[in-house]
Symmetry: C2
Subunit: 406 residues, 2 copies
């Protein structure tokens, strides 16, 4: 009997009606002859409510307590879903992270799953139960409850699918799959029937909200077959899988992201190892940086800048300030009026057509490019946030016209 | 360093202001040089809200899931209180039942504490933390979360005080202590400075809401010094302790309780062992019975009746119906229009003045007595629920006049 892992996000659980729809989907998977493990997020905006309560109680309280508080959101989801499934005649049992054996690091609020003791889950599956597991959380060796950070429920689902050797990990969301661009910005964006792990990794890293980067990386590492599907329709979704061996010139997506900030540091003493220090300081806090630039000044100092996710801005300023002696800089500033626009394609490295078409389209649309950053499978540019939507449409239209989008 | 266990109920935690007041009290106990363990209930009506959600999801769902859902109420309290204490500069750590090692039976919704693995609590106390423990819940050997049933947080507090050999267990509530009668019914009811375990046990068993019966029994068993105090005032409260060796003719309280039902069973075959069967059937479900009565009928059958707590009525009907073959009865009915009125006094057995004064007072007030039940330290009568308040006042007034109340 195959194991299927399904994950449902908070918006799919927000009302009793939605809960029952999800329950029907779960039962369908079970009746198709699978053992079913379901990972749930907190319902609706409950996580935000809990975070706001924690903030009211104490804006600077320990993350351990905040994590323990926030974890009750998923606990509510899994127990209510177990009750709902039981009402529909389906055997079901809820497990929190401690019970499910989801062992994590002790990095409260950004913990990482270390391993999963699957014994209890397997026992319950063998008894014929649908097993409902709290997403987004883990437990340390000392028994403290942790949360995994943004999009953590996706990571829980993929990690469970890997540990249980599930046949597929289905991520249910409020869109029908992965699109060639954000359909809210580009109305004729196309749903992709399939995409490689690497492309999805880039799309997520660049700001596509549909799947969390870490979960895609994990799926790639363990070869977990990942499906992104809508919890509201019967549409076929997007399959994320190992890259094809054949050469691929297609563009898998145009991603725009305005939730970024550029941090600039001026007056750094121009000695070797500056970037090494910056990268390792940021790495410690698990903050990814992009668009790294530097300018040497006449006085033996240099100015540097890089972009980060907007929600890591406070952390970034904190950690840089704390390391001011090690870095010996004069001033720090930041901008939030930029947007990152990216084209993801495994053909970037081998096919010069993709970058040239991209810059031509942006030029034709009159978009000013601030900076450029490239990798094996993507090109990103920084543009003024005011230009973001216009630029996204222009790019997507051009790639569609030229048959670069499947 | 002495250990103090404090317990705060849901109404003491209902608002942020109340939370901060409780935090101040906790800090005061710590600054007085104690190690402090605090047991909290769910805030305000949160437990009722969660139960109602469980009922909406599935009125007949598994108790395991309902317990796991309901347990998040106390988890919210302890984490928010930890954050509040931290804000006030006090080191604090929350522990749920699993973390605190509160091992219980697997009787979901009515579990009993089997033992407490105090290691983790003691470690945290030794690190200088106030330790906040979720009341009302336990964990089974298999790691399932249970709830302890009504008033369970009192039981948690007393069990912790016993296991940690605390110097005192302070139960904070919204009244200033134990009264000679319910002050809402009898305005001149007196606060008792002290009372014996046995008397308190009877008062609780008879319906006094201030302390849960099981917690008093546990305190008696382990000699835990118990204080009932107000979370709103600095008044001195009531001390519950071992009985004095001296003879005591005082009345410790007049208790009225309308949350009872009388169950009647008719047409039972009049063979030996009927009551034994009834008692053991009820015992299995942990349902206490009182006012047992029987009437032999001419046809070789008998009718029996007894009273139970109103909230066990459905369970009682269920279990009797399930055992209809074993008991071989014809019909079952129930009444809910009765109230139980009790006088608790260690002098009942030795001083005939107490019962005679009681019946005289009720006669003078024109109260009709339905049935009588006595024990070593209490006399109870059943009266019409309409007469309850009038009868309570009449009794309390008379005992006060005659100096039977301290």
């Amino acid at each position: 009997m195959q194991i299927v892992v399904q994950k449902y996000g908070g918006s799919s659980l927000a009302t009793w009606e939605k809960m029952e729809n999800v329950a029907k989907r779960i039962i369908k998977a079970k009746e198709a002859g699978n053992k079913v493990v379901v990972v749930l997020s907190a319902r609706g905006d409950f996580t935000e409510e809990l975070l706001s309560m924690a903030h009211t109680a104490n804006p600077h309280g320990s993350k351990r307590e905040r994590d323990a508080l926030v974890s009750i959101g998923e606990q509510m989801s899994v127990t209510l879903m177990a009750l709902t499934l039981q009402k529909m005649g389906c055997f079901a049992k809820s497990l929190n992270a401690t019970q499910a054996g989801i062992m994590s690091t002790a990095d409260f609020s950004t913990a990482r799953i270390k391993r999963i003791k699957t014994q209890k889950i397997e026992n319950e599956l063998n008894k014929g139960n649908v097993v409902l597991v709290t997403g987004f959380q883990g437990v340390t060796a000392e028994g403290d409850v942790t949360t995994l950070g943004r999009g953590g429920s996706d990571t829980t689902a993929v990690a469970l699918a890997a540990a249980l050797q599930a046949s597929v990990c289905e991520i249910y969301t409020d869109v029908e799959g992965v699109y060639s661009a954000d359909p809210r910005i580009v109305p004729n964006a196309k749903k992709l029937p399939e995409i490689t792990y690497l492309e999805m990794l880039e799309l997520s890293a660049l700001g596509a909200k549909v799947l969390q980067k870490r979960s895609v990386g994990l799926a790639k590492k363990y070869g977990v077959k990942l499906m992104v599907l809508s919890s509201l329709s019967e549409a076929s979704g997007t399959l994320i899988k190992e890259e094809d061996k054949v050469e691929n010139i297609f563009v898998s997506g145009v991603v725009s992201n305005k939730d970024i900030a550029r941090v600039s540091i001026s007056g750094i003493v121009d000695a070797p190892g500056v970037w090494f220090k910056v990268f390792s300081i940021m790495k410690k806090k698990d903050i990814s940086i992009d668009f790294v630039e530097q300018r040497k000044m006449g006085d033996g100092t240099k100015d540097i800048s890089f972009t980060i996710d907007l929600d890591r801005l406070e952390d970034t300023k904190d950690i840089l300030q704390k390391n001011i002696n090690q870095l010996s800089f004069e001033e720090m500033s930041h901008e939030t009026n930029l947007a990152k626009l990216s084209v993801v394609s495994t053909g970037v490295a081998t096919n010069p057509g993709v970058p040239s078409l991209m810059f031509e389209a942006l030029f034709d649309a009159g978009i000013n490019i601030d900076s450029i950053s490239t990798s094996e499978i993507k090109i990103s540019v920084l543009v003024d946030v005011e230009d973001m939507e216009k630029a996204t449409k222009a790019l997507h239209d051009r790639f569609l016209e030229e048959n670069f989008i499947r």
